[in-house]
């Protein structure tokens, strides 16, 4: 049940991101819903769920972005895994920590992409990319988190309450 919810969540957020949020971009920036989903589910269910969710989110991105298959999958998987380390340390009901985690995750995601895809191509103007792409994306993602995280949490506790131990 809970697994089904994760699968649905990945699909819904991916579709939302590619077709709905592109209409609501602010200064050409769209939020990163897949990071929110990966980080939230990691925090709620632990590293294993986190890394599997991250892997599939990344795989969707890979297919969509058409580069090397497995590239985003690996980055997103690591994000899910590391966020999963925080599972059980604090109450998921408290939004501050997930918020911070999602911010840091998105920041890392942006910097990794800059280094691997842009810096290696000779685009050295890190300041521009940092201020115009990475930071705005992080902030927008944070704003969206305020709406999305409580929503995910609510549905998730509702579902997990029913099958607690089948949790992976």
């Amino acid at each position: 049940m809970s697994v089904l919810f994760s699968v649905l969540l990945i699909f819904i957020s991916f579709i939302l991101q590619s077709s709905v949020f592109s209409h609501f971009e602010v200064a050409g920036i769209v939020p990163n819903l897949l990071i929110i989903v990966t980080a939230s589910l990691s925090v709620m269910h632990g590293e294993r769920r986190g890394l599997i969710v991250g892997f599939f989110c990344g795989l969707l991105l890979d297919i969509f972005c058409g580069g090397l298959l497995g590239f985003y999958a690996f980055i997103m998987m690591m994000i899910g895994f590391i966020n999963g380390k925080f599972y059980g340390i604090f109450y998921p009901e408290e939004i501050k920590l997930p918020l911070a985690l999602i911010f840091v995750s998105d920041l890392t995601y942006g910097i990794v992409i800059y280094i691997t895809l842009f810096l290696l191509k000779g685009r050295f103007d890190f300041g521009y990319y940092f201020l115009k792409i990475i930071i705005p994306e992080c902030l927008y993602t944070m704003v969206v988190t305020f709406v999305f995280y409580p929503l995910i949490l609510k549905i998730d506790t509702l579902i997990s309450g029913r099958d607690q131990r089948g949790d992976y």
């Binding site: 699909f11 991916f14 579709i15 939302l16 991101q17 590619s18 077709s19 709905v20 592109s22 209409h23 609501f24 050409g28 920036i29 769209v30 990163n32 897949l34 632990g46 590293e47 294993r48 890394l51 599997i52 892997f55 795989l59 969707l60 991105l61 890979d62 297919i63 969509f64 972005c65 058409g66 090397l68 298959l69 497995g70 590239f71 999958a73 690996f74 998987m77 895994f81 999963g84 992409i113 895809l117 842009f118 191509k121 685009r123 103007d125 521009y128 990319y129 115009k132 792409i133 705005p136 994306e137 131990r165 089948g166 992976y168």
Partner: protein, 291 residues
Amino acid sequence: MSPIVKNKGERFSLPSKYWLVILSVICVLLMVFSFGSKNFAKPFNYAFGYVITPLENGISKLGGWLSGKSEEIVEIRALIRENEALKEQVALLTEENTILQQNRYELNKLRDLMELNEEYDAYNKVGARIIAKDTGNWYASFIIDKGEDDGLGLDMNVIADGGLVGRITSIGANWARVTSVISDDSNVSAMTLASSDTMIVSGSLQLMNENRITFSQLRDDDNVVVEGDKIVTSNISDKYLPNILIGYISQIQVDNNNLTKSGYISPAVDFEHLSEVLVITDLKKSTGEEQ
């Protein structure tokens, strides 16, 4: 104790570090295989098409409708004023049109006479609708609602408003991804229409917001290329059909090496407001025999 724990009453489960290793290996294998062969991604693309594209299609219609509505409210006032001005223009244009139609009739007759066959018209084109944009903020690509089932294929050129939009970089049964020329990972071999000097036109994330793209490697020893020159795809490009309009030179400067020139181009296509595009179903290979 074995790391693969099986407690009483619990389902068999693999510790997360094993999952991490297994999935990492899968990632690396995927990267290696997709780097090695273009066809490797095909089954993934098809699966993606069957699950995601129909949903995206519907939602993008809804999303477009919503954002359209909000824009409508803002624009209604401006539209009323514009309507007045346009009505006057219509009257003017109708008259002009009659004259032009006469001219065109004459032109067609003359063309037939001279057996001129304009290349642009000769290409087979398929219209397609954009249903989704890039999910991230780093590249400018989008998904269209037609794919291999509609006769499209990899590397086909995409145009809109009479200018080059980009080319198809991955494809499924009912969708295709178009990488636009303003995208940071796009490089197009181009030339000036007037003097046929070749250059490389590349997109840049940094200039995307200013609606400009860069060009470089232009050799122009006679200094004939000036700002405002028309830039078209070159006939030596192996992916792009020749003589498709890319844009106009907006700024040009001599490189430090004093041999080549570089600068900026304003693209002919309005990438901000694209919703429909035309895909040219002729590939360069089939038309490249005259080279």
